[in-house]
Symmetry: C2
Subunit: 364 residues, 2 copies
């Protein structure tokens, strides 16, 4: 079936592009001598995670226990829950996972370590712990230095926990290549400071986990880094493109839509809005619009309602007509994929299958 015959709106992913994206990142990590632990939040699909592991990924990353459960149930192993999980029910489930899978968690607070320790001890399991530090994104993580070492020491003393290393997120490495290179320098300095504190204290650090898609090319400029956790690279999106971290043809995920109204002058309305794309803004490049219309980039997707997308066609020479099928590259593919129960696999224009977004909506 040709993708234009799909009932719309439909999320499609081009497998040729995915394979190329995965091969490229795997090769880059090998070349830079850093492990790859892809963040599955982008695809939320065990079959795609398997493709990543088959290409040599050292393990997987998830944000929530529910995502880990989906990956574990599919037979996948060595899963980092890169989130300071807090709450008895979720930690009980994490302990169950730790019975049969190699599990890691990140945390930055003694209170989290204590509740984790209690949950694991009660189930007689051991959970690997990465202590999180902040390199400039200012979200989670202690400052690189003394307090970080102190938390690691506390983790070492708590039953059911095993201190395995450090984690940070390079979310501040964002923007043009020049901006990213500059931030990567700062990141390297802060990672160095954290590692120096651990060297001084004599505590061995097995894992140093960092990264993101826009920072991946700078991984070898961060001494001591053992692995990176990019997510978006599997599909890429308009944000990745506008940062110069991929080409348009590397954007594997495209939403197939239909023009449903041209009644209002200057507008063409498509059958996909914020409940199909997510309402994430563009955080790079032109900083406006909700997606890239492949068939006519001169007709920007200027506004989303829940089920309607507004194309501004005032400057377009294309004659938009009701019933016409278009394809749109989303601003942010991770939140877009999370709107969909399923997606369709393509090789070029041909639809070759479909997969469930099995970890969609797993917020706990």
């Amino acid at each position: 079936m040709n993708y234009r015959e799909l009932s719309t709106p439909a999320l499609t992913v081009d497998l040729d592009v995915v394979e190329r994206n995965l091969d490229r990142m795997a090769a880059q990590c090998r070349q830079k001598g850093v492990g790859l632990r892809p963040h599955t939040k982008t695809h939320k699909t065990p079959e795609v995670a398997r493709m990543q592991l088959d290409r040599g990924a050292v393990g997987l990353t998830v944000a929530k226990v529910g995502e880990a459960e989906v990956m574990a149930a599919a037979g996948l192993d060595d899963i980092l829950v890169a989130f300071p999980v807090f709450g008895g029910e979720k930690l009980w489930r994490l302990a169950q996972l730790a019975r049969w899978r190699r599990m890691l968690i990140s945390l930055d607070d003694e209170a989290t370590a204590v509740v984790c320790s209690r949950a694991m001890s009660e189930q007689g399991v051991t959970l690997g712990v990465l202590v999180e530090f902040d390199v400039g994104f200012h979200r989670c993580g202690l400052a690189p230095g003394h307090s970080l070492v102190e938390l690691a020491k506390k983790v070492q003393k708590l039953p059911g926990l095993e201190f395995r290393g450090l984690m940070t997120y390079f979310g501040n490495v964002w923007g043009t290549e020049e901006e990213r290179a500059k931030e990567a320098e700062q990141v390297a300095e802060r990672v160095g400071r954290a590692l120096a504190a651990f060297r001084e204290s004599g505590i061995p650090v097995e894992i140093v986990s960092g990264g993101s898609t826009p920072s991946a090319q700078f991984a070898d400029r961060v001494p001591g880094l053992t692995e990176i956790r990019p997510g978006t690279y599997v599909y890429n999106d308009l944000n990745t493109y506008h940062q110069g971290a991929c080409k348009l043809e590397d954007c594997a995920a495209r939403v197939v839509v239909t023009v449903v109204s041209t009644a209002v002058p200057g507008r063409a309305i498509i059958d996909a809005g914020s409940k199909t794309f997510s309402s994430d803004l563009l955080g790079s490049g032109p900083m406006s619009g909700f997606g890239y219309v492949v068939e006519d980039p001169g007709a920007p997707l200027v506004k989303l309602n829940e089920e309607h997308g507004h194309l501004d066609i005032t400057k377009s020479k294309h004659h938009f007509r009701v019933g016409e099928v278009l394809t749109v590259i989303p601003n942010h593919v991770c939140t877009c994929v999370n709107m969909h129960d399923e997606f369709f696999l393509r090789r070029g224009d041909e639809v070759v299958g479909s997969l469930s977004v099995a970890a969609r909506g797993k917020i706990r």
Copy 2:
């Protein structure tokens, strides 16, 4: 169970508040002499739609065929698909629904009417049609006047379709009460123009459907209006509140979250981000932030990542600690609900049940 014992993040809905909101809108519509056809896009839950019908709603509104299927399967009837559905597979499904339910569709283009007619004729069913016109929101709909009448005449001639009336959306009635009252005047004038054109042509118009939650109070200022389609009023949200169209205590939907990190100075991080709230911005009042923190409105939710929410606590006197449970009123409840597979029913602090968001993700 107390709501604070829920595994977080969890969407909760207070039934006392919902019942009050539903009673109030039902009474208002009765008093204004206008029918109520609530838009189910807000709750996507047949059990809640049933509560609306039990209070005298004349029917239901949905945006997508998949939503109509969920409502129809639950035994609900008289469903307007307020969307110009285009595409063979979706229209075939709509025809199946029309076999056993009273179904209506809105459209604004002859091409849509033609494909609808073909799909209905092939299945031997008849679909009610509302022809859509624009009163200032500039999304779908023809201008009120001659072309609208011409489209209605075409619909009248097409097999499988029955022209039932007109539809418009009062999306431009937005903002403060004063701004909304002013826009409502314009809307009334445009609805009047449409009806005048039909009177002139001698075509009877049975249904004139309009409305939205922020415009509901002005329904009686629009002569000829037979029904309104508010959605948000069932739960309300921060946008409704900041427009003065509800009080904070009328906001029934609240997301229960846990503070998971306080490691970065000036920040408290909660375990809910754009995959829990949606990333919809605030389109009213202060126009910033991603939700209202009930326990400390002085700690604004300034930023969302996918699974993290950033509270700016620099101006708060509250001592935020890891493990603390908070509740957040979302900016836009319709997109927030759509992130969740289920939600928990409360009466005050007590959790009294849970329901599936059965029509979640029904984008086709």
